[in-house]
Amino acid sequence: MVNIIWGVFILVGIVYSLINGNIMEINNVILQSGKDGFNLIKEIAPLLVIWMGLMRIAETSGLIKRIAEIMTPILSKLFPKIPKGHESIGYIASNVAVNMAGLDSAATPFGLKAMEKLQELNTDKKRATTSMITFLVLNTAGVTLIPTTIISLRMMYGSENPTIVIPACLIATLSAQIGGLTLDYLIRRKNGNS
């Protein structure tokens, strides 16, 4: 599906800008876009290096394993295929917790690490497992208790009450979460969890 979306974005974008005379703009995008990607990596890379290092400490010291053991009873309902106390549960739980605290930059390395651990349980290394998909659904809804970027932007533009949107954001993101997990659950049940 990503293959199709990627192609459609490019083809449709170019054809439409040819029609509306916006092709100069696309010319720039083609020349500049690589730079945007590298800039984004430039921001992610230092975080990955530091957090992968810290997480290695947490893993060797047994901290991740501990978190996994504590969280297994809660998360095993969502992830029936992950063995009890497997480290991936520890990373999934940490990823969700860090995300909720509004620290999305620190959450990504935990998420990538969770994927790495889930991949160890995977028999067909090219094909996503149901556990991976459930984890992605859990992650993309991005439940956050304090949406720091939104609040600081509201402040910047002179809002009288920047934090008034917090409850609404929380309800909206929880609804997205519940909707996604429900559909995921139904698909899994239909496929017999494979």
Binding site: G37, A58, M115, G180
Partner: protein, 172 residues
């Protein structure tokens, strides 16, 4: 409330290092091993991020989405909204940086406490950037059979956006 976020990160780092000390492992050696993995992971995800941004930027800069939603303008005006909010709904799953830019523009034009401003805030907070997360996480472990992850992710985003509209109309 924002202070909670500032304390959380140092506490997390403190706890990880402290726990490593307590278990008597070579913390710095372990850190270096992990950091090296972080570096190779960066190299692994780079082509994916560059490739995704390339396609997304072409679509956004073609103005197609913006123009596509113009015909809904009269309907939205009845609700006291402008069609400026629609690209935001559509792009929320695709590009976090462009919805952030749209939100800032809405704040500038209508004010953060207007219906438009509130709606933009809630939509921005309703989800993470689904396409980006899925592409990034799959690429990091080399999976190319994505199965139904994207459909479910997009459905989840849709739920979030619908609820955002409802909330803003019910409570603000």
């Amino acid at each position: 409330m924002a202070t909670v976020s500032f304390i959380a990160l140092p506490l997390l780092v403190f706890f990880i290092v402290f726990y490593g000390f307590k278990k008597k492992i070579n913390i710095y050696d372990e850190f270096l091993i992990g950091a090296k993995n972080g570096l190779s992971m960066t190299v692994k995800i780079l082509p994916n991020i560059v490739g995704m941004l390339f396609a997304i930027n072409i679509l956004i800069k073609s103005n197609l989405i913006h123009d596509l939603f113009k015909f809904l303008q009269p309907f939205l005006e009845n609700l006291g909204l402008s069609s400026d909010i629609l690209p935001m709904c559509f792009l929320r799953s695709i590009s976090g940086s462009s919805t952030l830019a749209i939100m800032s523009n809405i704040f500038k034009e209508y004010g953060p406490d207007s219906t438009m401003g509130l709606l933009a805030s809630v939509i921005q907070g309703s989800s993470d950037t689904t396409l980006y997360v899925i592409a990034l996480y799959y690429a990091s472990v080399g999976i190319n059979k994505n199965r139904y992850a994207l459909s479910v992710g997009l459905f989840s985003d849709l739920c979030g956006i619908i609820v955002s509209f409802l909330l803003v109309y019910l409570f603000f």
